[in-house]
């Protein structure tokens, strides 16, 4: 065999090798599609790809660093004053929010419902974004070392961004809500109608394909997470309804929405650890039956039925 390989100087018998490796690829493909046996393999190779990602990311962050460090004093002063104003405004809003939160807690206590658990949040930076236009996947710089886990919800300042689909050691892959494979349980904030928002492959559009023609939904309605899927905590803004087309002979209305987060432009996102303070809280709330003790989702549900 070795002699043969040496003699055939220019033809290194690629056919056999292709057959073996091609077969191996098929096995990998099927295993990867059908199950999650290969997750550890992915993680191991993912760690090996990490330097590549860093290399790709370095020029960008270097450029930003240069830009920030060479900004003139004047610009910095301007930005500082702008930020001060912004901080004031935000604080004012926050004060109102705190008052509302206190009121909410009081009302909830009156209803006998549990106070909604606070979530722990950590800021993560996006390292790269999938180059494939049909898979909206990005890589963030937090991995299992930072506590990230599969199925973890990701938001930014404006709304829901996506969820972690693969937590590596140092970085994780996250699927955006605009990915065609992504579906997100949402609720219309005004009427409480629950449905599913499905990604379309476009960064600025989500579809709501499962709403009946008579559903209470209008253009401009705010969609929030319903929390029913389990992955996303309830109450985060997802988007606003862009168009509602009702065709009488079709069972479902054609509804599309604009995501609240500008999915094509974000650089920093936030990872959420729901119920980090009290791990058993969610389960306890779900187990407790009875209308008085209903978790927030069911409370909204009754509104929808009215």
């Amino acid at each position: 065999m070795a002699e043969h390989a040496q003699r055939s100087f220019t033809t290194p018998a690629p056919g056999l090798r292709f057959l073996i490796l091609g077969g191996l690829s098929l096995v990998l493909l099927i295993a990867d599609q059908r199950s999650d046996y290969l997750d550890s393999v992915r993680k191991a190779i993912g760690a090996a790809v990490y330097p590549l990602r860093v290399a790709v990311d370095t020029p960008v962050s270097l450029w930003r660093w240069v830009g920030e460090s060479t900004a003139s004093r004047n610009e910095l002063v301007l930005e500082l004053s702008r930020l001060r104003t912004e901080k004031l405004i935000t604080q004012a809003r926050l004060m109102r929010y705190a008052a509302l939160e206190a009121e909410n807690a009081r009302l909830r206590a009156m209803l006998g419902a549990r106070e909604r658990v606070r979530e722990r949040v950590q800021v993560a930076e996006i390292m790269s974004v999938s180059t494939n236009p049909f898979r909206h996947v990005m890589v963030v710089d937090k991995g299992t070392r930072d506590g990230a886990f599969e199925g973890q919800a990701i938001i930014d300042a404006d709304g829901v961004v996506g969820q972690v689909i693969e937590a590596g050691l140092l970085s994780s892959q996250a699927m955006l809500i605009s990915d065609p494979d992504h579906a997100l349980p949402v609720q219309v904030n005004r009427s409480g109608v629950r449905t599913i928002a499905v990604g379309t492959g476009e960064h600025d559009r989500l579809d709501l394909p499962f709403l009946p023609n008579n559903a209470d939904i209008h253009e401009g309605d705010l969609l929030v997470t319903s929390g029913l899927g389990g992955a996303f905590p309830p109450g985060y803004p997802v988007g606003t309804v862009r168009s509602v087309i009702r065709v009488p002979q079709n069972p479902f209305a054609e509804v599309s929405a604009t995501p609240a987060a500008s999915l094509g432009q974000i650089r920093e996102v936030m990872l959420i650890w729901p119920g980090e303070n009290e791990p058993g809280d969610d389960a306890a709330a779900a187990e407790a039956p009875g209308p008085a003790d209903a978790p927030p989702e069911s409370a909204a549900d009754t509104t929808a039925d009215e």
Partner: protein, 160 residues
């Protein structure tokens, strides 16, 4: 062919550069037209030095691409390995092709590569839009003449 004496380092650098270009973020309008740099690089070097850069290299790089893109494991590996198998099998004919004919061949190879990816996606239940899917084929074909001139220069400098 003085393939045995050829230095490995420049080619490895080319491959690493191709991988970097393959995962560097592009603006949204440009990303459908990103050429398949890894495949183009592998086509050139597997024709030039088929004993060293062949199906095995292609497969390993394909796995790396699968991880980097987050696609099904083995998808890019299978497509790359198959296309490189064809180029290695016909490398003697391909070597004597003039640039115009070689560019046309590269068009076919890139199309085949995309078709395999497309087909695997289809079997797995992912249906992408066709038009944008073939953007890399066009971009890659346009990039080929420049790339092969660049690699050619590199190759003879290295061989000296």
């Amino acid at each position: 062919m003085s393939s045995e004496r050829q230095a490995r380092l420049p080619v490895l650098l080319c491959i690493v550069a191709a991988l970097l270009l393959a995962i560097v973020p592009l603006p949204e309008w440009a990303s459908p037209f990103r050429p398949d740099w890894v495949l183009l690089t592998l086509i050139y070097w597997s024709i030039a030095v088929p004993r060293r850069y062949s199906v095995g290299t292609a497969w390993v790089l394909g796995i790396v691409l699968d991880i980097a893109y987050g696609t099904l494991l083995g998808q890019h590996a299978l497509a790359l390995a198959f296309v490189i198998y064809l180029t290695v099998k016909f490398h003697l004919q391909l070597r004597v092709f003039p640039l115009s004919q070689m560019t046309a061949t590269v068009l076919v190879l890139l199309g085949l590569y995309r078709f395999i990816l497309f087909w695997i996606n289809g079997v797995a239940g992912i249906y992408p839009e066709l038009v944008i899917y073939w953007g890399p084929v066009a971009a890659g074909t346009i990039a080929w003449p420049l790339l092969s001139l660049f690699f050619g220069g590199l190759r003879y400098r290295v061989a000296d």
